[in-house]
Structures are given as structure tokens and as C-alpha cells.
Amino acid sequence: MLALQGDVREHLAAFDQAGAEALPVRTADEILSVHALALPGGESSTLSRLIRIFGLEAPLRHRLAGGMPTFSTCAGTILLSRAILDGTVDQLALGALDLRTRRNGYGRQVDSFECDLDVPVLGSASFRAIFIRAPVIEGCGPGVEMLAAHEGRPVAVRQGRHLSFTFHPEMTGDLRLHRLFLDGVGELLESDAPLPAEGSVA
């Protein structure tokens, strides 16, 4: 769990309840040692700055290039996007997700909302989604699978080993999306496929 700023505690609790061993990571060595990384909600401009000044950009890029699975919500999804609209100057876009994402795409806090979403990959029961100053995904590359949409725009996507949301599954107590991610990571760890690379940055 990238623990620089944001709703880290909620994610740790959700992964813990879903049966994973989740721990906060704030240093390059810690980023290089985990099997998978979750990126929380928070302020993406703040996270971007902290990642840069504390030298975490290179280890993050290294792990992402090595196929490390990620689970990201809101600000985390912005950070992993290929292109960010309405970001701050030089805002970090790690590019693991082939997404074009607009910060605060719904407006200000008074426009924040919650609603029921259909997420077919989870079955027929709807998912209560909480959107807080949420970004809007305005464009997706061909490798991006849409898992759920709101008003015709993707709000939950999967691309390879990455599961990303513009809302906050960690805030509802509904663990189905966290479990979906952990099942994927579990299969990866058990399979003969090369493990997501651990080790030092070249």
C-alpha cells in the first residue's frame, strides 16, 4: 500500500479483511520488495510531488515495467494514467494504464456523489460506489477492458494485471473488488509465470 498520503488506513483494513498481508510502503526499498502495490485515494498532485522528491519514481517505473500488479483508486488511478488533463504542471503520469484521465472531472466537492453500479464481473448484485472529487476517464487504449461505467464513461477498468477505479471501493465495506484483485495476484504467484520482478533498480 503506497502510504505517502491519502486513505491508506481504509485500504489496509479492506485488504486485511480480504485475507491479504497488506503493509504500508513509503521507501524505495519497500517498493522493490512487495508482490503487488495498491495506490490509494488522496491528492494526486501531492502524491506526485512526494514520489518525486523522495526518489520513488524510478523504483515505481522499474516495478511497473517488470509487471507488478496494481490496484488503484481515484488519485492512484490518475498517477498510473498515460495522460492527465487538468493536472498541475509536470504532474507525474506513470503510464502503466493506457488512459486519458481528467482530474476533478465531475466538478468540486458539492458535486461528489454515491450511486449503485453494475459490475458484471462481480455478478448481478450492484456495487455501491462513492465518488469524491473523482476523475473522469476520457479515453482508453485498446488493451483496456471496461468493468463498469457511469453515464457511459468507464469508472472501473482492467488492463493486464492492473485494476483501477475512479471511485472508492475501500470505503464501503464491500470487499468484492479487493478480492478480485487478490485472486489475480494469488494465481500469478502460484503459476509458473515469472514473478513480478523484485530487486534493485539498474
Binding site: Q5, T46, I53, S112
Partner: protein
């Protein structure tokens, strides 16, 4: 008390709001989770007082998670005196126009119309603040009536729970704003979190008497005793002036820091802002705090709170 019960249970936020209708897919604005949720996203961050759009840009560049739009920082309010009111509307708009991070603004305690105006402007959080001159010495704003979330100051657990009972979606210590002296923020943080720890040690049949003693809503006292934490995010505020102050408040259990006069009254605002952001994230790593504190120049000049005349204390405004 019945109303308060339904409004304070986290799962019941649907019934919690008077003014907001639901769409067929249950779409709903201004609910408890959305209001408290924004504060959750700010955790581990620094919220900075700014008085101009230029300062707001500096704060954003330094990594602030939000800014508080003000006409005067508390240190100047303290020095100049007079009635301190909600900031000029064009100033708030000017600040909202230049940053992408959330913008907060202050309303006077009990001044529900200032809060309505701030909501109409679209600010992201309203601070019902003792730093401004109170408009009502008896009642605080009924914060359930708003879509915009509120943060309120508190000196101890009872005061924090009274504000949450009125609908505050976030609390902060009052500290003693504009002094550059962390002593009151420390006192209030220890009082709030010590109060939480004490509740956990009580038997269930002792909680009503404790609620009476605290002057706090019984349902919230029970909730805190059971969960061992406040139902909303709790920042520190009121006197944080250095990176070490910021880290101290985090080690004492703050979820994040408000920094007022400490940044733009220092010799090097951008340097101080960046260093306080870093010290808030790496609050338990003294080597990092030492690193970012080097060469910063003078912090704001501090005041001895004990030497202030009683009528100049801000923390005693509100109850």
C-alpha cells in the same frame, strides 16, 4: 435524540439528509460518506492558510493537499484586531480559479449565512472557525442542513463529539492560532485522543454518565467506546510553525496538519511549505525531518500563550 441517532450511524446516511433526493440508481449527493470521505482523502497531508492566489499556487507547488482561503492569516488578525469575518468573495473565487486542490474557507461560528454563501461559491470544505469573531455565542451552525462538508475546532473529546453531533465531517484541534506556539495544539490533541482511550476502558453501563460528564451525544460516546476512534478525521491546527512541530502532532496521533501563519510568516515560505509537507509524511523518520529542516531560515516569531490576556485567546470561542 432519535434524530441524532439515525444521523450518526455510518450505515444510515441515506436517511441522514433532509434536502437531497435520490435518483433511480440511488445517486445521492452530500451524504455522510461523501462528506467525511473527502477528509479521509486529505489524511497524511498539510492544509495551508493562503491570502492571495499567488500564495495558493506556492502551497500547491509545495504539495499541500488543500488550501484555506483567508483575508488575513491568524497572526495578522491577532495583531490588527477588529471583527474578523468571512473572506471577500472575489478573493475566494480568485484562489479557487488558480489551484486544482480543494479550497476551504472560514465562516464565523454560528453564522449560517456565511456558510450558505461559501456553499454557493462551491468551496470544498467550510471551517466554522474560532479564528473569526463568533456571530453566535450560544449556537453553532446546523451542519446537517448543508451539502458542503464542515470542519470544526475542538479542545477536548466532548467538544469534538458535540461538533460531530451537529454534523461536522472533520475536526481539528483549536490550538492557539496565530501564535506559532504548538503548546495548545499539543494539549488539545492529547485531550481528544486521551479521551478516546479513556472511553475504551469504561464498562458499557458507565457510558451514559461519561456522556453527561463530557457533554457529548450518548450515541457518539458509545460509538467511540466501541470502535476506539473518532468517527471523523482529526487534524491538528493552531500553532504549528516548523517541520518538527508538524511531525510531533502526527506522532501524537493527528491525521494531518493545518498550518496557518507558520508558512507565509516565515523567511522562506516555499521552503517551509515543502519541508512541513515532507515532515508530515515521514513524521516517524527523524533523519528525513533533519534533512528537510536544514537551511530553512527563521520560522515565524512565536508568542508565549501564557502571557496573552484572556480576552485575546481564540480557543475559548465556541464551546
Amino acid at each position: 435524540m432519535g434524530l441524532l441517532t439515525t444521523r450518526t450511524k455510518a450505515g444510515d446516511q441515506m436517511s441522514a439528509d433532509r434536502t437531497h433526493d435520490q435518483a433511480p440508481d440511488g445517486e445521492h449527493r452530500g451524504g455522510l460518506r461523501v462528506k467525511r470521505g473527502l477528509a479521509e482523502m486529505l489524511k497524511g497531508g498539510v492544509i495551508m492558510d493562503v491570502v492571495t492566489p499567488e500564495q495558493a499556487k506556492v502551497a500547491e507547488e509545495a504539495g499541500a493537499v488543500a488550501v484555506m482561503a483567508l483575508e488575513r492569516v491568524p497572526a495578522d488578525i491577532r495583531r490588527e484586531g477588529g471583527v474578523a469575518r468571512m473572506s471577500d468573495v472575489s478573493l475566494i473565487k480568485g484562489i479557487m480559479a488558480v489551484v486544482t486542490i480543494p479550497v476551504m474557507a472560514k465562516a464565523r461560528i454560528g453564522h449560517l449565512v456565511e456558510a450558505q454563501v461559501l456553499e454557493a461559491l462551491g468551496v470544498d470544505y467550510v471551517d466554522e472557525s474560532e479564528v473569526l469573531t463568533p456571530a453566535d455565542e450560544e449556537n453553532h451552525i446546523d451542519k446537517w442542513a448543508f451539502t458542503v462538508p464542515f470542519v470544526c475546532g475542538a479542545r477536548d473529546l466532548g467538544e469534538a463529539l458535540r461538533r460531530i453531533g451537529e454534523g461536522a465531517a472533520m475536526v481539528r484541534t483549536k490550538g492557539e492560532a496565530g501564535t506559532g506556539n504548538v503548546v495548545e495544539a499539543v494539549r488539545h490533541m492529547r485531550a481528544v485522543l486521551g479521551g478516546v482511550r479513556r472511553l475504551q476502558a469504561l464498562r458499557h453501563d458507565e457510558l451514559m454518565a461519561e456522556a453527561k460528564r463530557l457533554g457529548a451525544p450518548y450515541e457518539l460516546v458509545v460509538e467511540v467506546a466501541e470502535t476506539g476512534k473518532l468517527p471523523v478525521v482529526n487534524f491538528s491546527a493552531g500553532g504549528i510553525a516548523t517541520p518538527a512541530d508538524a511531525a510531533l502532532m502526527m506522532q501524537l496521533g493527528a491525521d494531518g496538519n493545518f498550518v496557518g501563519s507558520g508558512i507565509f510568516k516565515s523567511d522562506d515560505p516555499l521552503g517551509y511549505a515543502k519541508a512541513i509537507v515532507a515532515a508530515t509524511t515521514y513524521f516517524d523518520k527523524p533523519d528525513v525531518i533533519a534533512d528537510v529542516s536544514a537551511g530553512l531560515g527563521k520560522a515565524m516569531r512565536g508568542l508565549d500563550v501564557a502571557s496573552l490576556p484572556k480576552e485575546e485567546l481564540l480557543a475559548t470561542r465556541g464551546w
